[in-house]
Amino acid sequence: MMAASGPLEPVARELGRTAARLRNGIRFATGTQWAPIGPTPSRVIWREGKAELRHYSGHGLGPEPRLAPPVIVVGGLVGRSYIFDLHTGNSFVGRMLDAGFDTFVLDWGEPDADDSANSLETYLSRYFPRAVNAVRAEAGSEDVSIVGYCMGGAMSLHALAGRPDLPVRNLVLIATPVDFRHLGSMVDAVCEGRLDPATVLDETGNVPATLISAFFAVMKPTAPVVKYANLVQNLWNEQYLTGYQALNRCFQDHVPLPGAAFLQIARQWMRENGFVTDNLRLDGRRVHLADLTMPILIVTGSRDELVPAGSTGPTAGLLTGTKPEVLELEAGHASLTTGRTAAKHTVPKILGWLADHSGPGG
């Protein structure tokens, strides 16, 4: 078929796109999957409760690592860990593998009533150190590096404050809140005592995923409208659809938060603002961020509306046992690790710092 040229070219292009929009619209509505979940091959090397640790390097699955120590990527309790492996061509894990890191992801799992009694001690004193040791055994390494994203960063900080003896060579904190007075009206309601945290637990004893989704929806109420307008405009573009589907699924698909852990978080992290007021506890004893001595990189996004500058700003000043470096990047919450901005600007800087603080491995 001859391609239209001259004055008819834009009309022909728009007609072609309209046809593609119609075709893809039907496929989208009928549930076509453009982006399979977690496409990078991995194998589970450790499991406890619902938590599991996935290894992406070597063993015929991924490239052999060129850098040491191995790196554990830690996400939060309410999100899906596949945010680190969204889709082929847009995978934080994939970029880590390309850069030569021995890469592991710690997935806390999806809790149900059987996990309602899981406390901060369960995750930070039990799972976290055991996952670190599983990685050391798997990689034959004396120590590890940790990359914590969002709530995963706060959990890593709290865990390492409780166990400063854990062999962690480097710590990277991406979009990690420490001052919980800047995280929006829902968190304010807990901080100010207007919301009794126990009243939001459902019959399984956990904070339901629907409430967690509502928490995020309230922060950006018109986001779905903008999102759908962008979708309609780009419905002809399958590459866009792949990215849209992967990211949309990830940010809509929350998991319940175990009730016992939430009650501790509400009290220590939110009401007492424990990171800032040096009032964190684990295993019934006070723990201190000042006890962390490893090199630390704090990464913030200047356009991050979910974890704004006010909530990350105090971090460097609290880590008095080391000299943390702060990297403020021109990015939003998601674009620190995913998307084109991440591929070109943010992830190379983060991984560059980590490579500078690593050595040859393999």
Binding site: E14, R17, R21, D112, A113, D114, D115, S116, A117, N118, S119, E121, T122, S125, R126, P129, R130, V132, N133, R163, D165, L166, P167, G184, S185, M186, D188, A189, R194, L195, T199, V200, D202, E203, T204, G205, L211, A214, V218, M219, K220, P221, T222, V225, V226, A229, N230, V232, Q233, N234, A260
Partner: protein, 100 residues
């Protein structure tokens, strides 16, 4: 200019005007309290709706979903206590608990 781009431009402009205001409104103390009250009301309504089924099942001496969840929570508590006791015992034996 395509209709898609027009729509997107319109929505982005509308979002800048309406979205910020809406965020401001929903971010107020009153709106948050109202949302949370709505959420709790939803839970209460669910319990009211489920009550007849609960009465019937209990009359037949059968457990409801809530009873099973309660039992699972109780078991989770016991399981968690045992796991914590086991960890602390392990830590006291190894002097660190991480097996190093």
């Amino acid at each position: 200019m395509s209709s898609g781009v027009d729509l997107q431009r319109f929505v982005v402009q509308a979002d800048q005007v309406i979205g910020r205001r809406l965020e401001g409104m929903l971010g107020t103390r009153r709106a948050t309290d109202l949302l949370l009250r709505g959420f709790r009301l939803q839970g209460s309504l669910q319990r009211v709706v489920e009550k007849p089924a609960r009465v019937v099942l209990h009359t037949l001496n059968m457990p409801t979903r809530g009873d099973v969840a309660q039992l699972r929570r109780a078991l989770a508590n016991t399981n968690e206590q045992l796991s914590e006791m086991s960890r602390r015992l392990e830590e006291s034996e190894t002097g660190g608990g991480d097996g190093r």
